[in-house]
């Protein structure tokens, strides 16, 4: 009885920690071309770190045929891109200000983040 309760409470703690506190490690790159695979509800890589002021081309390869994945939206930048299935679609982004530029599908189930650093 006690054990089950303890497990339950620590599970809640773990959920909070894993999903809300801890962040996924980001891909740091100096390359200006990054391929992002769209599959299984996840952008891979989902966290991308780039330097500000330099243009970066994200090449999306959508493998998930579900319509959930059909658009990728960069809300802060006012950009969006339609993704064809099993083909690549490119978007070149140049963010001048450092900060987080999230990207996601229309329903925000696919989540990614372009982290721009100075």
């Amino acid at each position: 009885m006690m054990i089950v309760n303890l497990i339950g409470i620590s599970l809640i703690g773990l959920i909070v920690w894993w999903f809300w506190i801890k962040k996924a490690p980001s891909l740091k790159t100096s390359s200006n071309k990054i391929e992002v695979v769209v599959e299984n509800g996840v952008y891979t890589p989902s966290q991308i770190e780039v330097k500000s002021g330099q243009p970066v081309t994200l090449i999306f390869l959508r493998k998930d045929p579900s319509p959930c994945a059909e658009k990728v939206i960069f809300e802060k930048l006012g950009l969006s891109l339609d993704l064809p299935v099993n083909k690549t679609a490119e978007l070149t982004i140049k963010a001048d200000k450092a900060g987080d530029y999230g990207f996601n599908c229309q329903m925000k189930m696919y989540l990614g983040n372009l982290i721009v650093t100075d």
Partner: protein, 740 residues
């Protein structure tokens, strides 16, 4: 390395080839550029930005556009979606074929109890079959859940995988170690897991079908683009693929055909149906020198035209692009929901753990079994999809429907704002009126004749760009008046023009201009007032400081302005007319069309200040203008409407672009925005209510009072249906009709 093919326009001689090549090679990243003079094309290789390449060619005074290969994107997309739909149906069917007998067998007691003889063996076999089905029909939920988990993300897959996965694991524990739980709790839930997986696959398939309809508007627009075109090359007419058509090519259009690219008519004339782009049902007469647009239909007559915009530069392509972009945006109301959606799944996970603990600690009997069933039901019934879909799917349909009516909405915010407007400010010229003024009266002072007045009036106006100037010049031409040379021409904003003709100072404009130059206008002032009261604009002409006469011009009111303004009133809006004209003329027009307020004699640069003052009095202001002269006022307004006459409107200039020159478009835009917003609200309300009621019920909140506990399979069905319902509700917007 990228290889791009361009069509080059404006190359008249072989010498041009060198200039174009130089321009191409000057671009950063271009490694090789070759121009083919005969084909009027260029091939560029290297690591360059195609936009830079095109602007370099344009800088060298040529025209360029990218040639793209055959465009089957939509067909491919549909094929992929159909394949996915079939896969989902197959997965759902397999799950149903196994799940339903499992369910019936369990209910009817066909399968032995786990404790009974052969019980363990039978249930182990059923469990393995279940695993097989889960692998075939539900694998994608588990991989999705795991992959998201690894990047600290949780979504629908997480909930389904945890819900059905925990049912399976619990069931295997019971089957393999029956003694680990009290005998009453010894019930396996294999059938629930399989049926839930089946239902959710089936729901996704239905949702896909319904979603296909949401993008109907964009498909229709894409379908307007013809696949082939008939071009004249070397004196021969040949049919070629649309991707082969370059700039400055001559194309022939026969009756009933769609126009393949944007261009200008060089031979023949016809009436062209532009309704698919502008929403204007009447065909438009087109003659030599007029522009024709991709996708419109030539209804009669054969003509030749020269291509001026191809590929992604055509008006049709721009419309498609704008609609697509707009469909991806969300109004503020949607962004609030996003915040909820982003924490939704982990929150449900926490609720499910709490549910488990409560049942585990407080259930009188059979705690483990109740705890499991309620936890599973909570996980399955929670539907982040309905929440996440609610806004974007309505925007998709609403923006698409608007586009079909010739209304281009820039983004979700424009749509939300348009739904809230309280005041509409209309620019008079070109918006309420036709914008094509004509001379109605020529009144001359004593000792002057009409010809002389027209000679000076038309001569000085020949240099002016004012719309009224063209009316006077045209009128003079009709009367065969020959024009004189004007020197020192000067346009005085808001007043008129001045210049020197035959060494005499000519002033032509309104009363201010005359007063500022000390010209006595008392002789004709009364006459001018009378004309103004009839809605005419009177202009005084003075020669060497002496008044010569008046030329009156009138701009007729658009046929449907009166009806459209009435509709705006019916929508509860105040209608204000803004104009640079004098008060009397403006009042006359205002009376004719029935606006509530007139602000006359406004200098162009003061228009946006007037919008500000309306906003300061608490109004949500729409400004409707031509998009070019009114740009600052359009930008200042809560929603700027650019109204065009046909396809030549500046699409990029405003929050909402009306392709049809009618004010009905404003009323339609407001009506469809309101309809879309209330659709979003219905969806959000439904999704919130569903989740906030469904989750507690699933957790068993009704059990202590009514003994009601939700079956996890019912939860699966509810969840599968909830997102289908949201999509279907959004689809209702497709049937929106203008109240005109």
């Amino acid at each position: 390395m990228i290889v791009k093919r361009l069509s080059i326009g404006g190359m008249s001689c072989a010498g041009c080839v060198a200039s174009v090549e130089t321009a191409l090679n000057s671009v950063d990243g271009v490694e090789e550029a070759t121009v083919n003079f005969a084909e009027h094309t260029a091939i560029v290789k290297g690591e360059m930005d195609i936009a830079d390449v095109i602007s370099a060619v344009k800088l060298a005074s040529f025209d360029a556009a990218e040639l793209k290969g055959g465009d089957n994107e939509e067909a491919e997309k549909e094929a992929a979606e159909f394949a996915y739909y079939r896969a989902l149906i197959k997965k759902a069917s397999v799950a149903a074929i196994v799940g339903v007998p499992l369910f019936i067998g369990g209910m009817t007691g066909f399968f032995p109890e786990i404790d009974a003889e052969n019980g363990q063996f039978t249930w182990l076999l059923l469990g393995l079959i279940t695993l097989g089905v889960m692998y075939y029909s539900g694998r994608h939920f588990f991989t999705g859940a795991w992959k998201s988990f690894r990047v600290h993300n949780a979504n629908m897959d997480t909930l389904i995988a945890l819900g059905t996965g925990s049912a399976c694991i619990y069931s295997f524990v019971i089957v393999l170690f029956p003694d680990s739980v009290p005998s009453l709790a010894r019930h396996a839930y294999f059938e629930a897991a399989v049926i839930i997986i089946g239902l959710i696959n089936f729901g996704s398939a239905l949702e896909m079908k319904a979603r296909g309809k949401t993008s109907e508007a964009i498909k229709r627009l894409i379908g307007l683009q013809p696949k082939t075109a008939r071009v004249l090359r070397d004196g021969k007419e040949i049919d070629i693929s649309i991707s082969e058509v370059g700039l400055d090519e001559t194309l022939r259009v026969r009756p009933g055909e769609r126009i393949a690219v944007d261009g200008i008519i060089i031979e023949g004339h016809s009436s062209i149906d532009e309704s698919m782009l502008t929403g204007e049902p009447m065909p438009v007469e087109k003659n030599i020198g007029d522009e024709v647009s991709t996708g419109t239909i030539n209804s009669s007559g054969t003509f030749l035209f020269v291509s001026k915009r191809i590929g992604s530069d055509t008006v049709l392509a721009q419309i498609i692009d704008m609609v697509r972009q707009a469909q991806s945006t969300k109004p503020a109301i949607g962004r609030l929901v996003d915040k909820v959606a982003s924490i939704f799944v982990p929150a449900v996970l926490i609720v499910s753990v709490i549910t488990f603990l409560i049942w585990f600690n407080f259930a009188a009997v059979d705690a483990a079994s109740y705890a499991l069933v309620t936890t599973m039901t909570v996980l399955i019934i929670a539907c982040p999809c309905a929440l996440g879909l609610a806004t974007p799917i309505s925007i998709m349909v609403g923006v698409g429907k608007a586009a079909e009516m010739g209304i281009l909405i820039r983004n979700g915010d424009a749509l939300q704002q348009a739904g809230k407007l309280t005041t509409v400010v209309l620019d008079k010229t070109g918006t309420v009126t036709e914008g094509k003024p004509a001379v109605t009266e020529v009144i001359f002072a004593e000792g002057i004749d009409e010809n002389m007045l027209l000679t000076f009036g038309a001569s000085i106006e020949a240099g002016s760009e004012h719309p009224l100037a063209a009316a006077i010049v045209d009128y003079a031409k009709d009367k065969n008046v020959s024009l004189l040379k004007t020197e020192k021409f000067e346009a005085i904003t808001g007043q008129g023009v001045s210049g020197l003709i035959e060494n005499q100072t000519v002033l032509f404009g309104n009363a201010y201009l005359m007063k500022n130059n000390n010209v006595d206008i008392s002789a004709l002032e009364n006459k001018a007032q009378q004309l103004s009261q009839q809605g005419r604009t009177s202009m005084y002409l003075a020669l060497a400081g002496k008044l010569q006469g008046i030329i009156a011009v009138s701009d007729p009111v658009k046929k449907d302005s009166i009806a459209a303004i009435k509709r705006l009133h019916d929508l509860g809006m105040k209608v204000v007319m803004l104009t640079g004209d004098n008060q009397l003329t403006a009042d006359a027009v205002a009376k004719q069309v029935g606006v509530d307020e007139v602000i006359a004699e406004v200098m162009p640069q003061d228009k946006s200040a007037k919008v500000v003052s309306l906003q300061e009095s608490g109004e949500q202001v729409a400004m409707v203008g031509d998009g070019i002269n009114d740009a600052p006022a359009l930008a200042q307004a809560n929603v700027g409407f650019a109204i065009g006459s046909g396809t030549d409107v500046a699409i990029e200039s405003a929050d909402i672009t009306l392709m049809r020159g009618s004010l009905h478009g404003v009323a339609d835009a407001v009506a469809i925005s309101r309809a879309t917003l209330s659709n979003i609200k219905q969806n959000l309300f439904g999704a919130f209510v569903y989740n906030t009621l469904g989750i507690p019920v699933a957790a068993g909140i009704l059990y202590p009072f009514f003994g009601i506990l939700l079956n996890p399979m019912i939860a699966g069905a509810a969840m599968a249906m909830s997102s289908v319902t949201v999509v279907s509700n959004a689809n209702r917007l497709r049937f929106f009709k203008s109240s005109k």
